[in-house]
Symmetry: D2
Subunit: 365 residues, 4 copies
């Protein structure tokens, strides 16, 4: 265990702020890290709410101006947990100030913003990472490892869905996630981004072309007009010859957080559903699918926690993310997924929107 | 129980011939029907093989010329179990001779053939039916009933896959199903047709536009060049406002006969996987999905068989199909799915192929 | 295919009669057998009902006296589908007349009856079999094969349940299965017998001692007093050192026909649930459980039917039973399970009843 | 959020110490509590290891003498995470010193020890709790709530298993859990205790009599002779008329931490398996089992965490336990499960051992 500390400041204190806080608080107790994070500053727009969050989540200080946060010498890492419309500005400023940056997904609301963030990351000596946390679910990390080891052979099919149902009720109000100026897009950028990243991460193939459609089932809600998609569906071609089928929706009644991905290769297949996040199903073709309980000591990240059969939860994916980020900072390497990976996802999102608008197959630029 | 018999002649004796025979042999023992079918003639191209099939499957006579079969007075029903390239010719001739026709799917290999078959059906006093047997799996029939009763509300999503893996091995030979001149298309027409029909049947909505792609992973096999698709994927718009995601493949390693369909509506959802064919999963949104074992007396077709919990098999879907066909003949009504339904599927298949070839969204004509 | 026929007469036409009839009708169409069964006579107590059953199920003649059936020269096989209180009398008479006998389970209502049946079987040149049909579910047969091959190592645990719920409603009437004089016992003999047989069959170990209890939750029903158990539970020691846990009940609300069995061995485990009868779950310990879809050509009995992924139903277990019985007759060998196997089950049932009555561990005599 | 703090001292730093530490560290960030715990002292026998644990787990001080811990004024709560042979001594001393005590399960290694602990608890003004953490898994707490609300009607069956496989390998060494003097018993007390408590907690019925057997499959291991059971199985009668079937084993190859419990009532049933700890399966009889993802805001404990569909892990059950313990302390009420509940479990364990030894049914004293 190290005594070398590193100061963390977090911007945003809602859902993502809470789960990131739990990760910062927990990571040193389970992983033997080269740096011990200290939860120094939490930053939000409203003074009182930020102070309440500070006490609840256990940060040392509360600020209301992220520029002040960035200017402080005792802050080495800036953790961005705000809506997508402020990611670029904060991240670019933080990187310019030499701070390491971990930024929630999607990286930005537009491709140009994402490009400028990648440029800022490349120009800075600091480290940057985009928080596609599902890569750090042990079962997803194991899936990626199995593909990388060649256990599935050549990947032919990727089949990914992210199904939720939290706005099926037409009386659900117009929150920021339903407004294009704040969120960039709807299901597509919010949850579609996760399956795009997961598909590329696990398969080792990039999405190179898409043909899709989007739909908004409920246009008017209490609070105003919905300006984003409720659902986005597309088929895709991938860089290694695989074909893919993708679907993100907030109207899958009864599905709560069903991030699902199946890969079929020439030698085997695998299947994951986040609603049973401690399981990975793997087939070698002949024998059906094996339900692997991803709780063994030799599974990714798992050895740090509990004995076999004692499952982890959603928040652990963030703890693992922070762990890898801290190690990358200490090693002076680039953590994965980088801002460039985040841009790649953004480009796919843009291609899907264009394909849907134009009714034709679009290559991913 | 009736003493009124009806003579049946079947063309083809391979996989479909075997399962149809079992249905003809069994149906009267379990359902109280207005007509008792007699298995009079089986017809195939090779004399010896047809005779062997006759003895094995229990038909009275064997013939090698389907025209002779059609000309016989003791044959009232012609059951077409041949590859798709001969469907139109046999069906049109049989209908012209006043025979009732049940024809395997897909209805034909091309839209024009299917159109001519529909015209022949309309011109004939006889009854005709296309054998999309999966409609008669009790769980699928129950799914359709639940949607028709409004239990799911407005359907927003249809998500259908038909996953097999029997040609993953590149050494698997070039059978007729891999040749365009005999089979029309590959996974698309063979199994994609089933999920298109099932989706339209259960949802009560027609597919009105598609955007898709097809792929042939293994081009050369022992025996020659593959001229059909190995996999076909598309997204779709449906007549009632739903969006759909469809995928048919023979390269889903470890999936044997996974015909899956999920529907999400404003009030509920349902899910079916043929690999667990006696189960239907239904959700009313709040409470998760209920695994209904579709073996209760009030479930479609089930009352004729065994007590609750005693499952049925693949072949029963055909027995139910024959049962409904015989009842329709006796009542002088048109059985469903009709040749017109078969044409509708054929039109979707054609639109998918055009969309894949042109790289753009295609309306279904 | 043979032309050598063998005449069959069946006593009883209720649930078991229907499913046996379907097996006799179907077996020759799917299996290449040395004998072709002919469905000659069905026998029941009530003339009209028997005649109706004859027509429905496709038997040549109907009789009301089983002694007349046994006396006929054209009857080679007697198939006993009556309640347990008449098994011994009919079977012993049939065997004395030189008829081959297949008898529904449990073999008898008491151990002495079962002993006399075994003696009759040993004294007769004819073949006899007790119809524990679940042995012929392909997944169960595969389970037995895997254990016999040593794939699970030394078996340490057997965990078996047979859960139904058809009499949870206290208004369900007093049918014969709830009367001791007709049925012998309740859940214990009706469905407990199946899991006892399945456990011994799959594990290769006999139950040598038991400690159990029985319960009748609803004593009075429309029609009179229940004189059998509603549920029976026991723990057991087995001949190879395994320990077992067994439970049979008709009060497991929501479980329709859940015959479940799990075995744990030194090298692996397996699990089966009849409510998903085409699946067998197998583990080699390290990697979790693999869901084997028991529909491959090399799985027991399956090659005769459909392609992979096309499941079988409840009735197929009987078709397989008849197939094995006919082969045993032709070969002059003893089919399994024999009457001696049936007696063994009866002895366990008796030991459980004694243990429950006396409140102590009982060795199986 | 309160500023009122309470000082905690923990004895033991192994598996249980790690998970309790995580609970103490986390609880205030997610629950709005009347007392804020401060992690003041960790206590272990070995100085260096305790100091390492202190730094890793985040305690203020390390001690090697638990008597010193108990004597400190800044310690209000003593958390006992040692093996069972020291529970009684530590707990009784701590209670005598007026400290609140939370003690790992089983409460003690023998009934007399447990009795003396209950007496000490009754004599002390402080609060005491035994850490049957599985009660605080949200799905288990929901199960208990559903039964208490009458949703299942009269409970007739309890079916509980705790299956692990960590000592299947005969080369696994003789750890303290395999030694009677340290652990009291084997699978019976370690994991059987959990299902006994869970069964009583969920059903609302006490176990009043048992008939069981125990087995040690591997007697000699590296390090010496195994003096506890490897597996324990029993059937039971319960205070409300239910019958139960229980099994605890460390030899269920492929089962890692499968704490399973099913209840069948006159109106419905429920099923839980810890290997899928975020799911509860509930049936109302007619409609099959519904898979409830226990992640909704109105489910027990869940509202404090993440949105629907974002599962919790093993450690959260301890966080919930600590939360309830702190609330009970503040309210001056007795938390549940109390030491008396722990004694009740101990009495059942003793009855099982006696039943196994004597081969007869034993009432629970």
């Amino acid at each position: 265990m190290t005594d070398r500390t590193i100061g963390v400041g977090m911007v945003g204190y809602a859902f993502m702020g809470r789960v990131h806080s739990q990760a910062w608080r927990t990571v040193s107790a389970f992983f033997d890290l080269p740096l011990r994070p200290e939860m120094r500053v939490i930053c939000g727009r409203t003074k009182e709410a930020t102070e309440t969050a500070r006490r609840r989540m256990g940060w040392d200080e509360a600020l209301t101006d992220w520029r002040e946060l960035i200017s402080r010498d005792d802050i080495d890492i800036v953790d961005i947990c705000t809506p997508g419309d402020s990611h670029a500005e904060i991240a670019i400023a933080a990187l310019a100030a030499g701070k390491h940056v971990i930024c929630e997904k999607p990286l930005a609301n537009t491709v140009p913003e994402a490009v400028s963030m990648v440029e800022a990351a490349q120009a800075s000596p600091a480290r940057s990472m985009v928080a596609f946390n599902y890569r750090r679910v042990p079962a997803v990390a194991l899936a990626s490892r199995l593909v990388a080891e060649g256990r599935l052979g050549t990947i032919r099919h990727v089949r990914a869905q992210y199904l939720q149902d939290w706005i099926v009720d037409p009386e659900y109000p117009l929150v920021w996630r339903l407004q294009k100026d704040k969120a960039g897009s709807g299901a597509l950028g919010d949850i579609g981004a996760h399956i795009i990243d997961a598909a590329q991460f696990i398969s080792g193939q990039r999405i190179v072309g898409v043909s899709g459609l989007t739909e908004t089932f409920v246009r008017d809600r209490p609070g105003g007009r919905v300006t984003v998609d409720d659902a986005a569906l597309f088929v895709a071609r991938m860089s290694g010859g695989a074909v893919g089928s993708f679907e993100a929706t907030r109207f899958a009644t009864g599905r709560k957080n069903a991030l699902r991905i199946e890969l079929n290769g020439s030698l085997g297949s695998l299947y994951f559903d986040f609603e049973a996040m401690n399981e990975l199903w793997v087939s070698s073709g002949d024998e059906g699918f094996t339900r692997i309980l991803v709780t063994e000591p030799d599974h990714p990240y798992v050895g740090a926690w509990w004995p076999p059969g004692h499952g982890l939860g959603y928040e652990h994916s963030f703890t693992h993310e922070i762990k890898d980020f801290l190690e990358a900072i200490a090693q002076g390497t680039d953590p994965s997924p980088s801002f460039a990976d985040g841009l790649r996802v953004q480009q796919v999102l843009a291609a899907v929107e264009e394909s849907a608008a134009e009714g034709r197959y679009k290559e991913v630029m």
